[in-house]
Symmetry: C2
Subunit: 431 residues, 2 copies
């Protein structure tokens, strides 16, 4: 981690830049996959799964029997942990429901809006080194609260053709019926076009590698929505002398272990704290099994000393961190002043791990400064809001001439006529 002393605001934009990724243009390859899946359906999925996951499958959908076996393979302690996380995530997300609340904008003019579920959604859960069953919770719980009618989960099989039992167990717990053993861009293509086994969906959720990310971008071009644009995970910790350096270091390392393209940023009001944390980082790194990944991520990372709190807040807002940890006395100043962040963790006993798994907030959050524009996943991500209006005869008489004046000024005569014809009719009724 590079130590940077007292930056000035004119350097903030540059300092806030994420490590540049070597972006290969994957578009041509992805388009080929999309076209194969579109024309050959399940056959293409089976062939790609053999080619890239090394798994020869007879059946691409997870069976009831496999689900039953998975239940027996998950330990009771993990089941209990998943259950606690489930309840907390459920409690936080169900409170996000919005009641229908009619507004009478004028006498006789009633307007309201109603949340309705997106009917068909697709969840992508990566395979690879770690079975991300926590992401199943984070996506499937709000989808189920929203009432999405069709939920498909795609995840690549291991080379023996199986899916990690924790993923299958969690998906069952969340009520997901359709689990497909397919990963990569072919999984995204399957959910965009639909195949004999995989239903087409309207919106795609979930993290993935560069192929999945590129495929989700292509899905947009085919009219399928996505949760948010993707980028490497990151954390920014603001720590003052009331922070405990060992805790701060542990939080930085938890972020760094996600991948070598992760970035961790430490901001401190003085150099002594920064150096105490850096010493702890060094010491704790040596004990971690993912030390190599962590060390690479730390090369992208910075410890920045900013003695002025307002300036530190300005930098935080410029950086727009996915995760912001506030380990400081003046946490209210920062938590109330921050306007660009995904999720904020306040105090010495609120590690990011808590939000990653079990506190109740969602861990699918905007990275790569997208927190300037996007929210994390929430119940909102799984619904649409339809607006309604009902106008009475009196209401139309009150509002009609304004509509006609505006329509005329916009040269939209038929718009004016739609009101005029009604008002004229009401006159004939002596209204």
């Amino acid at each position: 981690m590079e130590l940077i002393l007292e930056s000035t605001p004119d350097s903030f934009a540059q300092l806030a830049q994420r490590p540049q990724l070597n972006k290969t243009d994957l578009n041509a390859g992805i388009e080929t996959i999309f076209q194969s899946v579109k024309t050959q359906g399940d056959a293409a999925l089976l062939q790609y799964t053999e080619q890239w996951d090394g798994a020869t499958l007879e059946q691409i959908l997870v069976t009831e029997a496999e689900l039953a076996v998975a239940k027996t393979l998950v330990s009771d302690s993990l089941k209990a942990a998943i259950e606690l996380a489930y309840q907390n995530i459920y409690a936080f997300h169900i409170a996000q429901r919005e009641p229908v609340q009619p507004i009478e904008t004028m006498p006789g003019v009633s307007c309201w809006r109603k949340s309705v579920p997106i009917q068909k959604i697709g969840l992508y859960i990566p395979g690879g080194s770690a079975p991300l069953f926590s992401t199943v919770l984070m996506l499937a719980i709000p989808a189920s609260i929203a009432g999405c009618r069709e939920v498909v989960l795609c995840t690549p099989p291991q080379s023996n053709g199986s899916i990690h039992p924790a993923i299958l167990y969690t998906a069952q717990r969340c009520g997901i019926k359709t689990i497909v053993k397919v990963g990569g861009a072919q999984a995204i293509a399957a959910m965009v076009f639909g195949t004999a086994s995989v239903p087409a969906v309207y919106k795609l959720f979930g993290p993935g590698n560069q192929y999945v990310t590129a495929a989700k971008q292509k899905a947009l071009q085919y009219g399928v929505a996505i949760d948010m644009p993707a980028g490497p995970s990151e954390v920014l910790v603001y720590a003052d002398e009331t922070a405990i350096p060992a805790f701060v270091a542990a939080d930085l390392l938890a972020q760094a272990e996600h991948g070598k393209d992760s970035q961790v940023i430490l901001v401190c009001p003085n150099q002594a704290i920064a150096e105490a944390v850096l010493r702890e980082v060094k010491q704790q790194t040596s004990t971690l099994p993912r030390g190599l990944v962590v060390n690479e991520a730390l090369l992208n990372s910075k410890a920045i000393v900013l003695s002025n709190a307002q300036r530190a807040l300005d930098f935080i807002n410029e950086y727009a961190p996915e995760h912001l940890i506030l380990a400081c006395t003046n946490s209210t100043f920062f938590s109330e002043g921050v306007y660009n962040a995904g999720s904020v963790f306040i105090g010495n006993y609120t590690p990011e791990s808590a939000g990653d798994y079990a506190s109740g907030t969602n861990h699918t959050l905007p990275t790569n400064a997208y927190a300037k524009t996007y929210s994390g996943v929430s119940l909102d991500s799984f619904i649409k809001k339809i607006t309604y209006q009902h106008i009475t005869e009196k209401g139309l008489q009150a509002i009609g001439s304004s509509i006609m004046t505006m329509a005329e000024a916009e040269l939209l005569h038929a718009h004016k006529q739609a009101v005029a014809i009604r008002l004229n009719y009401l006159k004939t009724l002596n209204y």
Copy 2:
């Protein structure tokens, strides 16, 4: 309008298809414009404005003097109409604010979320035949309620270099300070990259022609968000024997006058009503100044007879109309059963024109079946929601072992360690 009798559900998907547009690939041209604006800034904007709008400008920003003149050019009756619309739109959108509501998911584990404005946004208002000042209201009012700090409005000048006074007046009324005389893809590029006169923004809103639409898609690739994907406007009217055919026809024609690629759909429980409406359509069309546009749009349009109400509802949900007008006795059946629509207009005295201008709901709505996935513009479009959490010592002790169990199962040891180090420390304090 083609009359279609008693379709069966297996034909709904085909029947719900929008007219295929001749999609020219504009990407190369748009990329050239983006690169010119990126490298040459305002100079490129002035040159493009001369080339395409025929206006030679010395100054690309609207001046205070121009704003003052505009005020004098708008009639008092139009000002009053705009004011009434302003108040209703304001009333409907301010009710969409969400209070901060902390949830204690477990004792000692508090989570909440807070809405914060997207700091920098850009509004695009088309020029051309009609001055769409109503769209200024629909975008700028929720932006101002949200508290967006920087709001830029771009709109192409007329060939004499001026902007229509109704647009300038409305923008002023909504508190917009930065109005730029630039249209087309170059306006979008300016708001993506920023120039000396035009600030770069995080999210783009507003309708536009095929160049603007393509440029907004490209903006996404540069990391700038957009309100929603675009397509031609459309309405679906469900009318039974209690509807007044002349009103229904007027509503269909109001939609048809938007453009020759607009589509209007009439669904009726029997043929007699459909035919009565079609007769009225024919008759009213002859009186409209935009008759040519209307007639072309009507070629894309259909009157569909479905005697079974559930089947009619199923078709509506398959079509996913931008606007849905319910002129029928069983409007509750339809308004409660519809899950794919942008905005719903209930009853004989609720024309779409009301929502287009002044009832209070937003007129920026998802077209082209995007109502299956997207909401119309609302306050939500201008904010992000940041999640927060605070965990006490006791809270972490209650939740900690679950987090550690899950982190271990996901092979994320540093995530586990971030909790373990805190719990061990608490033990040393005899907590």
